[in-house]
Symmetry: C2
Subunit: 407 residues, 2 copies
C-alpha cells in the first residue's frame, strides 16, 4: 500500500541534516521499515495520498543512503526544517517514528547538523574558556561538589557549609537537582546567603569560586530566579535541561549570555539508557550545546551512573571540539565519585572537566572539610603523576578517604 521509496545507497549527501538510527523492524522487512522511518519523519504517511506531487516529493524527500546491518543513515533536505527551531527538528526526526508499530526498536544514535543549521543556534554565551578565565584555574580539573543531603538542609545551614567547604579548597558547589524553592529552604534566601559567602571568599582570599543555584522551575519563575541571581552578582545557574525542556533552555540561554549555565540532565536515562531505544546521550549533548549550556553532566565512567568509557569520552570530545564557531562546553563528571576514583576519571576524561563529588565529600569519615582536602589532594597527586597510594602516605585526609571507599 505504502510504496514510496526513499532508499538510494549510492546517494552522496551534501549540505543536509544526517540522522543515524538503529532499526529493528516489526513484522515487515528491513527496507520497508527504512521507508516507513524516512517517510513518517518527513513527507510520507502510511498510505499514498493525492496531495503529494512528484515535484514536492523530489524536492523534499529524504534519502536513506547508508544501510549497515541494523544501522542506517538518512539525509534530510534542509527545507524540511525551520532554522533555529530545535523542537521542530526533533518533532520531525525524533518524533512519531518512535511510536510506529512497524518498528520493534528504534534509536536515534547521532545527528550530523550541517553548518547552516548549527549557525541558526546561538550556542553557549559562556563556555569552557570563560569558566577557566573566571576561576583562573588553568590546567587542573575544577573541584566541585553537590550539597548533600540532596534536600533537607535549611538555607542557613547550607550557607554555613558553603563557607566551610570553600575555605577548605573547593572551587565549585551546586544545588542538587531536586532542590529548588522548598518550604524550609527558599530559592531567594539560599541564593542571597551563599552569594554573600562567595563575596567573602573573594575578599579573604581573592579566589573566584562558583556557586550554582538550581533555577529549574516553570518558565517565568525560572527567568525571574536567574535574573535574581544575576542582580545579586551570581555568575552561574543550573537548569535541568530535560525536565524543563528544550524551548525554555534556549530562552534562558538567549537572555543570559553572561551567565554560566550548568546543564543537569535528570530524566535522560529514560531516553538514553537502553541502547536499542530512544536517543543517545551524544545527541542530547549536541542539542544542549546548540541551545547554549556552558557545562554539562555527561557521565563518570566509574561512578554510580551508567555510561561506558567510549560513550562518555565521545561526548566529552564533542563538547570540547571546534564546531562552526560555537563556544566549547565544559563537561561535568558527577555521580558516585570519591577521591579514590579521580585518577581514573582524569585518565579517561582529561583535565578539562568539573569533577563533582557529593557523597564522596560529605561522607568523608572525618567530615566535609577533610572531604574537600582529600579531593584536592587526589587531583594534585594525579596532576603530578603520583599514585594515590604514594601520595596518601603524607596526606592524611586522602588516606582516610581511601580507607573508606577504596581506589
Amino acid at each position: 500500500m505504502y510504496n514510496l521509496n526513499f532508499i538510494d545507497t549510492k546517494y552522496k549527501p551534501k549540505n543536509e541534516l544526517i540522522a543515524e538510527y538503529h532499526v529493528e523492524p516489526y513484522r515487515i522487512d528491513f527496507r520497508k521499515a527504512c521507508n516507513h522511518i524516512a517517510g513518517e519523519s518527513s513527507i510520507g504517511t502510511w498510505t499514498d495520498i493525492g496531495t503529494l506531487s512528484k515535484e514536492m516529493f523530489k524536492r523534499l524527500k529524504p534519502t536513506v543512503f547508508s544501510i549497515k546491518k541494523d544501522k542506517i543513515k538518512i539525509a534530510y533536505p534542509l527545507d524540511l526544517f525551520e532554522k533555529g527551531n530545535m523542537s521542530q527538528i526533533l518533532s520531525s526526526i525524533a518524533g512519531n517514528i518512535f511510536g510506529m508499530k512497524s518498528v520493534k526498536h528504534l534509536r536515534l544514535i547521532d545527528i550530523d547538523f550541517p553548518k547552516e543549521l548549527v549557525r541558526s543556534f546561538k550556542g553557549p554565551g559562556m563556555g569552557l574558556e570563560d569558566i577557566r578565565n573566571f576561576t583562573k584555574i588553568k590546567d587542573r580539573p575544577i573541584a566541585g561538589t553537590i550539597y548533600k543531603p540532596k534536600i533537607g538542609l535549611t538555607d542557613k545551614e547550607q550557607a554555613k557549609l558553603a563557607y566551610r567547604i570553600y575555605k577548605a579548597g573547593i572551587d565549585f558547589s551546586k544545588d542538587d537537582e531536586n532542590l529548588c524553592s522548598m518550604r524550609f529552604n527558599s530559592f531567594r534566601d539560599r541564593t542571597v546567603r551563599i552569594l554573600e559567602v562567595i563575596d567573602k571568599i573573594k575578599d579573604e582570599e581573592g579566589r573566584n569560586v562558583i556557586y550554582v543555584p538550581n533555577v529549574t522551575a516553570p518558565y517565568e519563575e525560572m527567568m525571574k530566579r536567574t535574573e535574581f541571581v544575576y542582580e545579586h552578582g551570581g555568575k552561574a545557574i543550573m537548569m535541568d535541561i530535560l525536565t524543563t525542556g528544550f524551548s525554555a533552555h534556549e530562552a534562558l540561554s538567549k537572555d543570559f549570555r553572561k551567565m554560566i549555565i550548568h546543564g543537569h540532565r535528570a530524566l535522560h536515562g529514560a531516553l538514553t539508557r537502553d541502547k536499542h531505544e530512544g536517543i543517545s546521550m551524544l545527541v542530547i549533548a549536541k542539542i544542549a550545546r546548540l541551545l547554549g549550556v556552558s557545562s554539562l553532566h555527561t557521565g563518570t565512567v566509574v561512578g554510580k551512573m551508567e555510561g561506558t568509557k567510549e560513550e562518555v569520552s565521545e561526548i566529552n570530545d564533542f563538547l570540547k571540539s571546534k564546531w562552526f564557531g560555537l563556544k566549547r562546553v565544559m563537561p561535568a563528571a558527577s555521580g558516585g565519585l570519591h577521591p579514590g576514583l579521580i585518577p581514573l576519571v582524569m585518565k579517561y576524561l582529561g583535565n578539562d572537566l568539573i569533577i563533582n563529588c557529593g557523597g564522596g565529600l560529605w561522607g568523608h569519615p572525618d567530615g566535609y572539610e577533610a572531604g574537600v582536602k582529600a579531593i584536592r589532594q587526589s587531583i594534585d597527586a594525579t596532576m603530578e603523576g603520583i599514585s594515590l597510594r604514594d601520595y596518601s602516605k603524607n596526606h592524611y585526609e586522602l588516606r582516610r578517604a581511601l580507607e573508606k571507599w577504596g581506589s
Copy 2:
C-alpha cells in the same frame, strides 16, 4: 556501605505523592535496589553522609510501602516537592534514578498526585466541554484531519484545501508536527489564510469549525505565534508538548486561558514504548492535564501507532475523569486511521473524542472531499448502530474507502 532503609510494607500513606515503578535490579538484591531508588529520588545518595540528621531523615524520607513482584509503590512526603513546579517533581521522582547502575530496567508506571499538588497547577483553560460548546457538536466524535503531506504544501495550497474539506464536512483540521514556519509556507501567512477560511465557513454555514496551527517553536516565538493566532480570531493552537518541554507548556497554557491547546506528543515513544523502561503514557497524560492541554493525542488502538486497548482506554478515562476540579481533556485518536477503523475506535474509546484521519482522508481513491464524506458517513453509521457494510450500500464514498483500506 549504603544502609538507609526506606522499606516499610505496613506503612499506610496519606497526603503524599505516590509513584509506582517497575524495577529490575542489576547485580544487587531487589530490596537494596528499592532503597537506592527511594534514596536517589529524595534525600539519599550512594554513601552515608554526615550532614543528614536523624530528624531530617525522619521528616523527609519516602517510604516503599508496597512491593508486588517487580512493581513497587513509594510514598513521598510533600515537603520534598515545590508546588506547581513540574520540572522539580520530575527531576526528583523521574530523574537520576533512570541512570543508576544498580537498576537494569526501571519504569515510572503511574503517579498519584494528592489534591494539594494537583491544585498547585492550573490545568486546562479550555477543556472537553469548551470544545463541545464551541463546535456545538454534542454527541458524536469530532471529525478531524491533519494536512498531508506533512510538509510540502504552500500556505496558499493549504488554505484552498482547508476550504474544500470544511465545505465537505470536516470539523477540525490541524498542521502536522513538522510543519512550523517553513521557507515555502510561513506560519503567519498560513494562519491568516486559513483563519479567513474559518470565517468564510462561519458566514456561509454558521458552523464553528476549528483550525489548529502548530506553534511549536523556541519559547518567545511560540508565544508570539500564539498571540498572532489569538489576535486573528483563532480559537486553537497545537504545541508539541515533549519537544518544546514542560516549562514552556505550562507558560503557554497560563498565558492563553481562552485558547484550545491541542497537545501533540512527538518523541513520546522514546520514553513510553518499552514497557520495562522510561515513563508510561498515562504519566505523561497526567502531567499534560496538570500543565493545561485541552486535547491530547493518546493513541488509536487500531492504527499505525502502538498502544494497547487497555492502555489507551485507561489514559482516555483519566483525561475525561473528575480530578479535583481541573477541567476535563478531550482525547484525540490519530495515526493510521481511515473510515473502516472508526467503528472500532469508537467502540474502544467512546464518543468524546477527536478522530483524526490524515492519510485516511487525503488518500481516498476519489480525492479528499470524498475522503471527508467517507469519514462522516462512518461516524454517522456508528452513531446509528449500523454496520459499515450495510451503510456503505447507500453511501458511495464510504464504500470506496472500504474497498481501498478494508474495515
